[in-house]
């Protein structure tokens, strides 16, 4: 793609105009700022459960979601996010405010405190809340995208998935099903080289996870997960193929998990020299430098984008902190469509086991 005049709104690189490149930059810094805020909130004691970082992986989440048709009326593409993909969650229209509400278990959040972190659903914006058991979402996304094919809707589904999760049976079953059913599904493989404390070499003999996909007859390619444009273009190719009826695919995003598995993990098992190497390939620093060197942004414009993202995130965090926790009795709600759980008989005004 030839670079054109940076001011006239036409494509500069990867088919993207200047305003779009700035949007990508904004999405990257917002994801990082949100997680940094979250760490602070955790240190202040506001977060009961785990805090997960995607430091160094932001370009994967952002580049991938940017390649989708993002809508808020339930007609667009769809993703199943992971805890390492808040950048995608926000791009799809998931609000940082809801992100904080989830981690802080607020009554006002999308799950009312029943579920944590990025485990929330908004089908209109194309968000499928994942569950913790690894690999499970691949089959679910196979079914979502199968329905797109059956209903002849021109929609695509991305399922994000850690490299460790590729060892589960559910992952293989789901992927193979998507392959044989030619589902418009793309598996976004987060190859961050770790599954908790276990390095990739202990979980696969393969050089690349694309070969697992190839084993099921899927189209797969690797991208540089620290380069937002590379991720965007790779995902776009896979998404275009899927939308054109050419079946499921996989994009392997190669990068590195630069923080521990969650806040409780101090990464003792990681070689600091290796961390250093990946720090130097920081996706935000890299993209910022590219924007500047190509003349697609100025120091000032990048600083302004960053300040705006930080403001958005700070305001959201402040609001969430001020909001109420749910009342305990809501634990009873919505176990079934037509009924909840019953109040324990010991908590009735007149304790009565016949009412249990």
């Amino acid at each position: 793609m030839p670079a054109t005049n940076p001011t006239d709104g036409t494509a500069l690189v990867a088919g993207l105009a200047e305003s779009q490149l700035h949007e990508l930059y904004y999405a990257l810094v917002r994801a990082r700022a949100a997680e940094e805020r979250l760490e602070v909130l955790h240190k202040q004691g506001h977060v009961g459960g785990g805090v997960y970082r995607s430091l160094g992986q932001e370009a994967g989440a952002v580049g991938a979601a940017y390649a989708l048709n993002r809508r808020s009326d339930g007609s667009g593409d769809i993703i199943a996010q992971t805890v390492r993909a808040c950048g995608a969650l926000f791009l799809m229209g998931g609000k940082p405010l809801d992100f904080f509400r989830q981690y802080l278990a607020r009554a006002t959040g999308p799950t009312g405190g029943k579920e944590a972190n990025v485990h929330w659903v908004d089908y209109r914006r194309g968000l499928v809340g994942p569950v913790s058991p690894l690999g499970t979402m691949v089959g679910v996304m196979a079914g979502i995208t199968l329905s797109f094919r059956l209903k002849q809707e021109p929609r695509v589904g991305l399922v994000f998935c850690g490299d460790g999760a590729t060892s589960t049976g559910a992952w293989h079953e789901g992927l193979n099903l998507a392959a044989v059913q030619r589902c418009p599904m793309v598996l976004m493989l987060e190859a961050n080289q770790w599954a908790f404390s276990t390095p990739t070499r202990k979980t696969t003999r393969l050089e690349s996870f694309t070969r697992k996909a190839a084993g099921y007859g899927l189209h797969a390619e690797s991208v540089d997960g620290t380069d937002v444009l590379d991720v965007y273009e790779g995902t776009k190719r896979a998404v275009d193929r899927a939308r054109a009826g050419q079946g499921a695919g996989m994009v392997e995003m190669r990068y590195y998990r630069r923080k521990g598995h969650a806040q409780h993990d101090n990464q003792e098992y990681v070689d600091p020299a290796e961390l250093k190497v990946w720090e130097e390939r920081d996706p935000i620093t890299r993209f910022g430098a590219r924007l500047l060197s190509e003349g697609w942004a100025t120091q000032e414009s990048l600083a302004a984008l960053k300040a705006r993202a930080e403001d958005e995130v700070r305001l959201a965090a402040e609001q969430a902190v001020g909001e109420p926790a749910p009342e305990g009795v809501h634990a009873l709600d919505a176990v079934y469509t037509d009924r909840g759980a019953k109040t324990p008989w010991t908590r009735l005004e007149q304790p009565d086991p016949t009412q249990a």
């Binding site: 009961g48 459960g49 278990a105 607020r106 009554a107 799950t111 009312g112 405190g113 029943k114 579920e115 944590a116 485990h119 569950v131 913790s132 058991p133 690894l134 690999g135 460790g164 999760a165 060892s167 589960t168 049976g169 559910a170 599954a195 908790f196 404390s197 276990t198 202990k202 979980t203 696969t204 098992y269 926790a325 749910p326 009342e327 305990g328 009795v329 809501h330 634990a331 009873l332 176990v335 909840g340 759980a341 019953k342 109040t343 324990p344 008989w345 010991t346 908590r347 304790p351 086991p353 249990a356």
Partner: protein, 340 residues
């Protein structure tokens, strides 16, 4: 190989251990005693397990006996069965027992039926953390006993003290049947459970309940963390009502020790079952039926239960506290029965 890690030598040094350290000691000593014992699981080697139960094991026993597996609960549990067929005695760790579900097939269809089908006994142990109260949400808080209780051929163990934990772990490893051990996260490092354990090699036999507190007014049958909530409730009832509760800690859920339960109910005439697991299909139903079969004539009141509500485990503190059975629920239920 490295020396013994400090987390498994406290008893040797006559220091008190937590329930978690008691489990570590039990596992470690069995691995030392019997070279057929080896371990598989996620992050159990270099990291020492998500909760550090196996910290230092890799250095001491080496990579062939402390195997970090891919995230493959079904695969490594199947592998445990295969190794057990060949005479080894595998212990596998589920990082959280919530993730035992992918192994449900191999456990219930293969492992539990092996002896009956004529493919031989399967001396293996499946262990891992369970239980709520840690703001873990729906997938890091479950109790899994009743998913397996219905399967003949399995044994299920659920310790509530450091002493029992160590003795049950050792008994489970020496047992020739497949044993599931549930370890409550809320008890792992609970300071009030620290105790100095005997120096000798002891086991706590599987299938034997323990009378934790004697009383004449009511039998509370419970296990795991609920033992301690029941003791708290019994103390309140003693102080405020002068009502004496007998508490049985099941320790082993399967096989169930009806004898001890029935004996106690014959003495008190009243039964309350307390479990952290959800209500419908919880173990209380089975216990009540056995008491009905064996001691109906001795009952002076309906058999009742205090349990979690029939819902997934919620994340928010207030929701989870509401979800879980609390001391006040046990006190209320006991008072209801006392007055019956």
């Amino acid at each position: 190989m490295g020396g013994k890690p400090d987390n498994v030598t406290k008893t040797e040094r006559r220091e008190p251990v937590t329930l978690l350290e008691a489990i570590s000691e039990g596992l470690f000593e069995e691995m030392e005693r019997d070279e057929r014992v080896f371990m598989m699981g996620e992050d159990i080697g270099v990291y020492g397990g998500a909760f550090k139960v196996t910290r230092g094991f890799l250095d001491h026993f080496g990579e062939d006996r402390v195997i970090d597996t891919p995230i493959s609960e079904s695969g490594f549990t199947g592998a445990a069965a295969g190794a057990a067929h060949m005479g080894l005695r595998p212990v596998v760790e589920m990082q959280f027992m919530d993730f035992i579900s992918p192994a449900y097939d191999v456990i219930t269809n293969y492992i539990a039926t092996s002896l009956y089908r004529g493919s031989g006994p399967l001396p293996l142990v499946i262990r891992g953390p369970v239980g709520g109260g840690n703001r873990g949400g729906p997938f890091h808080s479950q109790n899994v006993e009743m998913a397996f209780f219905h399967t003949p051929g399995l044994k299920i163990v659920y310790p509530s003290t450091a002493y029992d934990a160590k003795g049950l772990v050792k008994a489970a490893i020496r047992d020739d049947n497949p044993v599931i051990i549930e370890e409550h996260k809320g008890l792992y490092r609970a300071p009030f459970l620290r105790e100095v354990l005997p120096e000798n090699d002891y086991i706590v036999p599987l299938g034997k309940a323990n009378v934790v507190r004697e009383g004449s007014g009511l039998t509370v049958v419970t296990y795991g963390l609920m033992v301690h909530k029941s003791v708290e409730a019994a103390e309140v009832l003693h102080q405020e009502d002068g009502f004496e509760v007998e508490i049985l800690d099941l320790r082993t859920l399967l096989p169930l020790d009806d004898e001890t339960i029935v004996e106690s109910v014959k003495k008190t005439g009243r039964l309350l079952v307390v479990h952290e697991d959800t209500r419908t299909g919880g173990i209380a139903g089975e216990i009540a039926m056995r008491v009905s079969e064996k001691a109906f004539e001795w009952l002076d009141a309906p058999m009742l239960r205090v349990t979690a509500i029939d819902a997934p485990v919620p994340y928010a503190g207030a929701l989870e506290d509401y979800f879980l059975p609390q001391v006040e629920d046990i006190v209320t239920a006991a008072r209801y029965l006392a007055a019956y």
